[in-house]
């Protein structure tokens, strides 16, 4: 029986499909992380604005994305927004949109934290050598903030990778779904399939996320002094 179980992984194109599923998972996560990071930096800059209204709106945006589950967002965008605007978007695209927006919210908070943690005299000494507002951010603040936010950002990234399994609700086949397809196909004949398939997926996730968290630890240590 045990042998039979692991054999499920090597039938036909199973491994290839698991790999494709993994790429879907990782692809959606990484594209979203990248877009989300850029949006998040903008968001973080906005959140340091002195305008109360801007602050309020940004805060609201963050809380809305924090509290409303991602699944709901996927439903809203995939079924609701595309229908209301009468456009068609692929599930993958919607997934990227939703995860990017979520990433932007969370990343914005991380960036804000990083910017606020910079000593005030950095701003002043930047000004004192005549840097313009943008020069100040471009050369002085953002490069320093990036270092401080990296651990948090990478942490967020692993969370995003792990959350992608929800996209199956809008018809995108991620690695977990592929796994379930394989398991279910073998439901009657190979009951131990689930152990092997989930075991493999567990390892695959670990393979993606572990280097990330290792990297964050490394950078954290490197930039500590």
């Amino acid at each position: 029986m045990q042998n039979l179980g692991i054999n499920v992984l090597f039938e036909g194109t199973t491994l290839q499909r698991l790999f494709e599923g993994l790429m879907m998972t990782a692809g959606i996560a990484f594209i979203s992380i990248i877009i989300g990071s850029f949006l998040g930096i903008g968001m973080g800059l906005l959140r340091t604005s002195k305008s109360r209204i801007v602050q309020f709106i940004c805060r609201l945006y963050l809380e809305v994305f924090r509290i409303i589950p991602i699944l709901v967002w996927l439903f809203i965008v995939y079924f609701g927004v595309t229908n209301a605007l009468d456009i068609h978007l692929d599930g993958e695209v919607v997934a990227v949109i939703v995860f990017s927006l979520w990433g932007a919210a969370e990343m914005g908070d991380i960036v804000r934290g990083a910017l606020e943690s910079l000593p005030k005299h950095q701003v002043e000494s930047g000004k004192a050598i005549g840097l313009s507002f943008w020069g100040l951010y471009r050369y002085v603040l953002i490069p320093q903030a990036v270092r401080r936010m990296l651990p948090g950002a990478i942490n967020l990234s692993t969370r995003m990778v792990k959350t992608t399994s929800l996209v199956v609700m809008i018809g995108v086949i991620d690695v977990v779904k592929v796994g379930q397809q394989i398991i279910e196909r073998s439901i009657i004949k190979v009951p131990t399939a689930s152990f092997w398939v989930y075991g493999l997926i567990f390892i695959l996730y670990f393979i993606i996320c572990y280097p990330l968290s290792k990297l964050s630890k490394k950078l954290e240590a490197k930039w500590e002094n």
């Binding site: 000004k127 005549g130 840097l131 050369y139 320093q144």
Partner: protein, 249 residues
């Protein structure tokens, strides 16, 4: 000290500065001539830092006028970015940018702000580094430097913009005595070369040695302005006498 005859570089007239409703600077008058070194003394919280920060536009002012090089620094249409290039400032906290090497720190202003030629700036930087004895630390990061070295680099960074006046705000307050000396020696050197400077310091020996005039401030007002010898041996006001007593055991 006949610098009084020189051209007036900076003129402060009846300067008022308030935080919320608290008056911090209450009618400061001062004329700084080209090449003159003014040391600002006064008890903690009297407004010394605030005065320097106002000159550099880091604080808005509530009344009076500041004339720099014949132009007013008051009002909303002052081009601070341009003005700050002519006014170098070094703070107490080592304010180097920690993510850049020494030379990157120095080049940032001249190249990105003043749009000067890299080669020319590099030469100037090399000269200045030589002068402060740090030619070999060009590619170090600030964290690899001692406090005194950091402050000397900060001075070079400011000088490399070719400012017309330098403002120093307790640049040695957080340093060990030997490092204090390193930094103060650099400033003494600048004084000899005729740099116009305003210096806030707590080193009385240094103040006496470097100053053309001492400006003693108390509670936001100018209490006394006199030559150093006179100030230290024979202060006019009782407040100044009290202040000097602190340093006597």
């Amino acid at each position: 000290m006949n610098k009084e005859n020189h051209q007036v570089l900076l003129e402060i007239k009846d300067l008022h500065k308030e935080y919320d409703t608290r008056t911090v600077l209450d009618g400061i008058h001062l004329r700084v001539h080209k090449g003159e070194v003014i040391v600002v003394l006064g008890p903690s919280g009297c407004g010394k830092s605030t005065l320097l920060r106002c000159l550099n536009g880091l604080e808005s002012i509530q009344g009076g006028d500041i004339q720099f090089d014949g132009e007013s620094l008051v009002g909303s249409n002052v081009d601070w970015q341009k003005t700050r290039q002519k006014i170098g400032m070094v703070f107490q906290n080592y304010d180097l940018f920690p993510h850049m090497t020494v030379i990157e720190n120095i080049l940032l202003g001249p190249i990105k702000v003043q749009k000067r030629e890299k080669k020319e700036v590099m030469e100037q930087a090399a000269q200045l580094l030589e002068k402060v004895g740090l030619s070999d630390r060009k590619d170090s990061y600030p964290r690899q430097l001692s406090g005194g070295q950091k402050q000397r680099i900060a001075i070079v960074r400011a000088l490399c913009m070719n400012p017309e006046i330098m403002l120093f705000d307790e640049v040695t307050a957080a340093l060990d005595p030997e490092m204090v000396r390193e930094v103060l020696d650099v400033i003494l050197g600048l004084a000899k070369q005729g740099m116009t400077m305003m210096i806030v310091t707590h080193e009385m020996g240094f103040a006496q040695a470097v100053a053309d005039r001492i400006l003693f401030i108390d509670e936001g007002r100018v209490c006394e302005i006199s030559e150093p010898k006179e100030f230290f041996t024979n202060p006019k006001t009782e407040r100044a006498q009290q202040f000097l007593n602190i340093f006597q055991f």
